[in-house]
């Protein structure tokens, strides 16, 4: 009953809200400094198809609810799942992410503070980031075994980003701490560059105009942990990425990523679909007012 009520309320909010045209970056792993517009909700679905040596390939996927709480604060809830071919399908956990913009104006480099709480098990394969000594063989374990280990982690990122003459360049160092005291701090990085195919817009609303496409490249990987810091014994990826922002408020993303060393998956093929809705906050506010 509670689930039905929750689903119904969510659907009501989504249907009552108006779609809003987004200008989304093509990145899957890297973050730029742009936050969700206040009061808007973005619903996102992403997939990662991964090859696996010494094991079965997988299709990992996640849903994001991204909400602009303020112009300087975006909060996001992720629900992760995966299907390992020849093994099984399962939910692998959730993440709660918050991004805060400390400076009120644009600067030469724009920092955003990122804080995330994760409750995911070892079967999680979305590879939303690489941290510590994450390697391909971590994902070779069967779902039945991997799901027995549940991790509670805090993740911190410093999102540094700059847009100049249409080019966005973003660099994200990260640090993660498993809440078990015995676990070390783990580190990683992500960086990306992207640009719209053209900077000039056309007067007509169109689906296939070059202005609707943003192309880019991402580089991400691990940096070891406090006991063994560095680029060795971890995985690194280079990925091309493209976003297609449609006038109907849908965004389609696609990204083939390639492992750069023997510890990486050979191929991570990603795609995503998202839609932004404005007025979500107002709808909640109205319900809140009625309840009071």
């Amino acid at each position: 009953m509670a689930r039905l009520l929750l689903t119904g309320t969510l659907l009501f909010w989504i249907l009552a809200a108006q779609p809003s045209r987004a200008q989304e970056s093509p990145y899957f792993v890297t973050y730029d400094h742009y936050l969700e517009e206040p009061g808007n909700l973005e619903l996102e679905y992403f997939s990662t198809l991964g090859t696996q040596r010494a094991g079965n390939g997988f299709h990992a996927y996640w849903i994001e609810f991204e909400y602009g709480a303020k112009a300087w604060w975006t909060t996001e809830l992720y629900v992760d799942a995966q299907s390992t071919f020849g093994d099984g399908t399962q939910l692998t956990g959730f993440r709660w992410e918050n991004r805060f913009r400390p400076l009120k104006r644009e600067h030469f480099i724009n920092p955003v503070l990122y804080l995330e709480y994760e409750q995911i098990n070892d079967a999680d394969k979305i590879v939303k980031e690489v941290e510590g000594h994450d390697v391909e063989t971590d994902h070779a374990e069967s779902n039945g075994l991997a799901r027995r280990t549940l991790n509670h982690e805090l993740e911190f990122k410093l999102l540094l980003s700059k847009t100049f003459r249409g080019w966005n360049v973003a660099v994200n160092p990260l640090a993660t701490k498993n809440l078990l005291p015995s676990e070390p701090w783990e580190f990683g990085y992500a960086m990306g560059a992207s640009r719209p195919l053209t900077l000039k817009a056309s007067p007509e609303s169109c689906n296939f105009c070059r202005e609707n496409f943003i192309a880019g490249v991402e580089l991400y990987g691990g940096l070891g942990n406090t006991e063994s810091f560095g680029l060795h014994d971890t995985s690194h990826y280079l990925a091309a990425a493209v976003a297609w922002n449609l006038p109907s408020a849908w965004t389609v993303r696609f990204s083939p990523g390639f492992g750069l060393n023997g510890d990486s998956h050979r191929l991570l093929l990603r795609w995503g679909l998202s839609r932004e809705f404005n007025g979500f906050g107002e709808q909640v506010s109205r319900i809140w007012e009625r309840l009071r």
């Binding site: 200008q23 906050g281 809140w288």
Partner: protein
């Protein structure tokens, strides 16, 4: 109730509260909840003197109108007359403002008062929007107009 369920309910409650927070009109401490356009006065002089590079482009207004509809109308209203979320752009303060000042506000936002930065839109597109805003019919409404939110 399990810890997981408590946490999920907490997350839902947190999202709802933050949604309520953002939907509440921003209060201006100096005007008792009325909006003013003071941010326009904070624009650096050098930026204010910039001319609009698309002024001579006959398509700029059309492009600006399209982009305004896609990115600005949800808060400022389809005609730029303002809404509960953001003020009118048809007032004298905006219509008399230098194009460079409007471009600067669009680029930097007024983050503490609800307007996001729009530097993610390429520069020519931001100038197109400024060009379109300047074509909106001016009204006699001024900074004493009741409303909420930044320009």
């Amino acid at each position: 109730m399990s810890k997981g369920r408590v946490l999920i309910l907490g997350l839902c409650a947190g999202l709802s509260v933050s949604a309520f927070m953002v939907a509440s009109p921003a209060q201006n401490p100096t005007t008792g909840g009325r909006f003013d356009y003071s941010e326009l006065r904070n624009v650096p002089e050098k930026v204010r003197r910039q001319t609009n590079p698309v002024d001579g482009d006959p398509t700029a207004v059309l492009v600006g109108k399209k982009l305004f509809g896609q990115h600005c109308a949800e808060c400022h209203g389809a005609t730029g007359a303002g809404s509960k979320k953001a003020p009118s752009l048809r007032v004298e303060e905006v219509q008399q403002a230098a194009p460079g000042a409007l471009f600067w506000i669009l680029t930097n936002g007024v983050v503490r008062r609800g307007m996001p930065v729009w530097s993610k839109l390429p520069e020519p597109q931001r100038w197109d929007i400024v060009r379109y805003i300047k074509t909106l019919k001016s009204t006699t409404e001024g900074s004493t107009r009741a409303g909420a939110g930044p320009p």
